[in-house]
Symmetry: D2
Subunit: 435 residues, 4 copies
């Protein structure tokens, strides 16, 4: 079967590259992936997958960092103008741009989930001849949105895998779920799909990423380390304005509250069980020099090498913020803007993936482990699957990068697309056959 898979992947190569470039050209940022998701849904439908979309796979109450309604509406119209299928777009109102394709192979077997993230970054793409997407005319036409993290490639690989597995359906058992997740940037999207129960019935879950610490085509890692659990928070303080010269004592100073919070947030104690992080990255408040400032916002994130450590940081942060508001007679509203879990790969599954990698012989080098070096909300899916007795792993596929991730000159070697398509299909097929 490995040989058939590789053959199929090669056959699909041109189509996969074309899809990647199409997604790149029409880059869509978090919760506005109306066109991308609509294309995914169309392809899956065509291939015979049951397609779940919008409310069926995204819990509205758990969506984080959603753009305001007028922004969403603007994007909906833009997407329609760029060819999105109105039937699907209708189902994604409110930014619920997640899609899941399910195929049941009709024989007893495990449920295998593969997760691909589909959103672009907030970045203005380079426009000069040295940047291939520009030179070859697939640079983003959506100003301010750019695929600078290879999610265009992930999505294209996801569709190639969908096609390969569909082609092999007669020989597979169990069920496959292809999860196309919006809003990975800012780690905002996975939670809403997890809360909806998308992976509650999953036995094996596989995530993947191009590049990061594997910067050569031909490299692969069957597991990935360095996931930091994280929570993204905004805290808005509201006080009472007053004339700073004439009656300062009648004011309630929101900037004093926010500054006190900021200082004490950074002073949260280190944790003895692993690394922790805290950063107030943005603070804004006040209206005029001579007015006691009655409003202030801080934007922060906590992190930890485990979900428990991040939860400790989060709990400390919330208590500090609330007490700082109270200290200065202010109100405060705290809003979760994003989050990811900290988690590990299951050794047994990693070993099995490695056997597949060795057997397929696609790669020149099997690296011990990739390192994500930050936060990725695929961990929410992984953690949920593991909590319910399943197994999860996250693989990394090497590719040369034109510039670092999130750089406005980012691009990758498209030769990796066929390797990833074949490899992910191979791993899935291995799990969906035999035992």
């Amino acid at each position: 079967m490995d040989a058939r898979i590789v053959e199929l992947a090669k056959t699909l190569e041109a189509k996969t590259i074309a899809r990647r470039r199409d997604f790149h050209r029409y880059a869509e940022t978090a919760w506005t992936e109306f066109r991308t998701a609509s294309i995914v849904a169309d392809v899956l439908t065509e291939l015979g997958y049951e397609v779940l979309i919008g409310d069926d796979v995204v819990a509205a109450e758990a969506m984080m960092g959603v753009p305001p309604a007028n922004e969403l509406e603007r994007h909906r119209q833009r997407a329609l103008a760029q060819g999105a299928n109105p039937v699907w777009v209708e189902k994604m109102l409110g930014g619920k741009t997640g899609v899941v394709g399910v195929m049941d192979f009709g024989k007893p077997g495990p449920t295998v989930a593969l997760r691909f993230d589909i959103d672009a970054n907030d970045a203005v793409e380079a426009e000069d001849e040295s940047h291939r997407p520009y030179r070859e005319n697939f640079a983003s036409v959506n100003k301010g949105a750019m695929h600078a993290c290879a999610h265009d490639g992930h999505t294209a690989v996801g569709l190639a895998v969908a096609e390969i597995l569909a082609a092999l359906r007669a020989d597979l058992a169990g069920r496959v779920k292809l999860i196309f997740q919006p809003a990975e940037e800012g780690v905002r999207g996975a939670k809403a799909m997890v809360v909806k129960g998308v992976v509650d019935d999953v036995d094996y879950l596989l995530g993947m990423h191009f590049g990061v610490t594997l910067r050569k085509t031909g490299q692969v890692a069957c597991q990935t380390e360095g996931f930091l659990a994280t929570t993204k928070l905004d805290a808005s303080f509201t006080g009472v304005p007053a004339h700073a010269g004439a009656a300062p004592e009648t004011g309630r100073n929101a900037l004093l509250a926010a500054a006190t919070a900021l200082l004490n947030l950074h002073a949260i104690s280190r944790h003895s069980q692993g690394a922790s992080r805290i950063n107030v990255g943005v603070m804004q408040g006040g209206t005029g020099r001579n007015v006691i400032p009655a409003n202030a916002v801080i934007k922060l994130e906590t992190r930890g090498t485990t979900s428990a450590i991040n939860e400790y940081m989060y709990n400390e942060a919330v208590r500090i913020i609330e007490a700082a508001a109270q200290m200065h007679g202010c109100q405060v509203q705290i809003q979760e803007m994003g989050g990811a879990a900290g988690c590990g790969n299951d050794a047994e599954l990693v070993a099995r993936i490695r056997q597949t990698a060795e057997r397929m012989g696609l790669f020149k080098e099997i690296v011990a482990a990739g390192n994500i070096g930050g936060s990725e909300d695929c961990t929410y899916f992984m953690e949920r699957v593991q909590q319910r007795g399943g197994k999860a792993a996250y693989v990394m596929v090497g590719t040369e990068l034109a510039a670092g991730h999130h750089d406005f000159r980012f691009d990758f070697n498209e030769e990796a697309l066929v390797l990833a398509s074949a490899f992910i299909s191979g791993v899935a097929a291995d799990l969906l056959t035999g035992k």
Copy 2:
């Protein structure tokens, strides 16, 4: 002579009201009063005053809170389009919109200076029928600029006084200097004229304001209390950005520096010799939640009932800000954005003004003192005159207000214009005759 003055003022009333409404309609904010100043210069010239303008009366190096060059240029063109005299505008490049009219009466006598402020507020004027300037079609056509502090009235009164004194010139001795000061809002303009030496030869200086604590037409106060010395500061902190998850220790956190400064600024000790104030009214910093913030700005003001107390506050503030930057390995740039002195009226001069007020019989009620309840940079002129042996006072002329100063519905009873024109002329004439 009192009778002639009153008569002249009445004759000028319609013209004065028309001028006030014209200034109101073409409201110009600090350092952009190209049209207003140009009209003032034209009128003074016509009346036979020697006109000093631009570089001759404004020290560029002491101008505070000047808008950026492109803003100034935009206003220059706007003013020209609104009828400003290009000859004068040419001399006011860079925002040097101060004008001084001098008339020497050819006989030995004192030099008397009268100061009028000419700039509008940063406010969007009310646009509904209940607001008279809108209803009667003299609301500001310059969006975002509005005369909400009666400086339009002050300027019109200044021109009426110019005309009255010119008419009386044969009977006057000494010299009069009519100072039309830009940029009083934000207390940014007086210092640059004082530094230029505009009042270095002045024996008596008189400032005036409509309204404030005198809210009835027919009231007058021959002195004003409650001036708070003040300094307006911006502090810009620069650190080093870093990824908050991957290498936080390589950053230099400008928000930590700014927050530490903010807290400690508010903790500056009270002063036993009088009231002091400190307010950080605005704080902004950082670029993203996951980046160690490398920039932060705080906008603050210090105040004190005397210049010495304000200087204490200022010195403490500067030391705290610089140490906060150093504490977090950041750079900081501190910029003075405005300032006013704290000062008192000379009792002897006040008594003489009161005699004039009583003699002229213009007012129903002579109030013991007005109260400015804040900061006014006329104090810089007053302080300089007093330091050099002269005398200064600040009078307040009552008028009904439609809404408080700086309110977007502000308006005042124009009947007060003629009273002020006559009174100020009378006080000046009293000083410029006999003794």
Copy 3:
């Protein structure tokens, strides 16, 4: 009657000086004035006054800053050994060392209260020949207690006045209350007597002080300004200790809570209606460098030119302290350790006192007003009397000082004793006769 009073005062001069020196020699600090109060009670009894003491004049629940029980017991025994009357001492258990002597003159008239403070300072008296109390052998034998604020003189004057008024009783109407108040230092004692209702029936209340801003014998002021309302607070934070290297996150850091409180306390906004003060004068916490500190204490005071401003400062302080504890997961206990009101003298009463001063002709100079320049808890009595419709004033009697108040070389010119005895008696007699 003035002449008789002066005569009586002179006759008593030697006794008054002797009493002052006796009190000086056996100086007793706040709430431990067992011997002083016992002597006062003996003298008053002998003179025919009804004596109220202990529970009858001191509300235990309102006593502030009381020494611990073992300290009180040590002082009780010390006082008995130094000649205190055991009958009175028995009634003052727990430190209730207040005494009030009441005499009703049997004719309708006002109730006049005179207040004298009796406690010594926490100071070690100078022991060298240049210090008169040492040279003339009446320096304090109670190490650490010293009359460095002239309360020994106040008490002696109180007893002289008691004797004079008793001698005049046939000619007086109404009722006199002589209040001997403990624990003025640290402003800890007046409140407990006020709460007990000691001045609830008083029409006129008079307080007095030697020296302060009147440093010449022969000077007198019939009113005193500059009283600052104040509250003295201790806040004790309790956290959870933890090994700072091995498990810092399990601790609750009381020093972080206290330091955050300290910074924010000093940052309480100025008040536009008058002067305010805040000082955290003492902070202590922690046990070892390598232990997360689980305890911290701050000792602070708030002040204001009016009771309302001080109450504002107090309310802000309490909220800040409680929020700081909560911010760091700590408990906090706040205890009031002292307090005084801010208040003014009644002009009408002051005028009457001034007439008496002028009529008696005792003083060379009647100063417009003394200035206490700080806090004095006599204000609690004054405020209560005024709140209930009575009138109050606080006089200052001039005397040369060997060193400033609270200095370990403090001493005063005893010639002032007879002047004060006669003057206070004269003022009381004036109020207790005729009108």
Copy 4:
């Protein structure tokens, strides 16, 4: 040779236990180990070692946390009264209580150093029958000093090893240095011996500890992990006092400086390369509630899993402290009170020690690694030896504990003494023979 060593150790067991109990009974805290060191010096001399003591092995300028002179003098006299040899005590003036015994075996070979720490803890030993040292009459007679960390055992083992190696001298090559280090508690002593060059010629260095994570007799670990580099600091702020009511602005508030430092110290950024720690364990300042506090002290420690991380923490801390002082116009003096390096064991040496452990067969269980879980200044010796090309390791010898380290009921199973004596001798002999 292993057999002879074990035999010798057994023969010495009673003597070793007796010595341990003697040291326990006359416990001496950091820099006051006059009696302990004097006994060590006597024994080493007797055994034929060259003895270096005082100035020869301790660099005065690098001693940290030394008690004041009067304390040292008191301890000198106490030690002499308790039998210390005056000849040695004379050489240890100023607290230089380090001793090194050197024996050259006359044949070419490596220099092997063994390090034993000799000081007791600041603790008041339990006095009840359940505590064996009390029951068997060897509890500390020096109130406030107690061997609660087994250094009494370490010292006794050191002397047993000295005797065993001396007995084997004919069969050994190279040179042995037995380092008896004072002041390990508070990590104050090692640096001064390292600075003196005591291990500059050492090829192999071995440290040891009883207990910690090995709580059973019969366990041993041939290496130890978890060393945190650390620096102990005291910072003393000096401001200017002022009356908090009358003239607060004339003060310089040392508590504001210290509190600002405290908050910002805890806010030092986490380090991405490993764990870091910061703790301000003690803070004290101010004299009275109504005085602007003019003095404040903070006692803190920084830690890091590597010396580089600790150095980062230290540099940040110093900058913050100095800037906090400057911010409030205060002076500050920073003093290093202790320190330890972070370091690792040399794998090759560890393997060789493990072979010896296995060969000697003394232990039931060879644990992979002990964990010191904190800071130990033996690391300074280890780091220096490693920097100069030598190898170092730190072994842990199991023993049952009556209570945790530093507990006032601490005691250990003395059966471990003979095991440690034999094992350390065996490791040393292995290095000093053959290769």
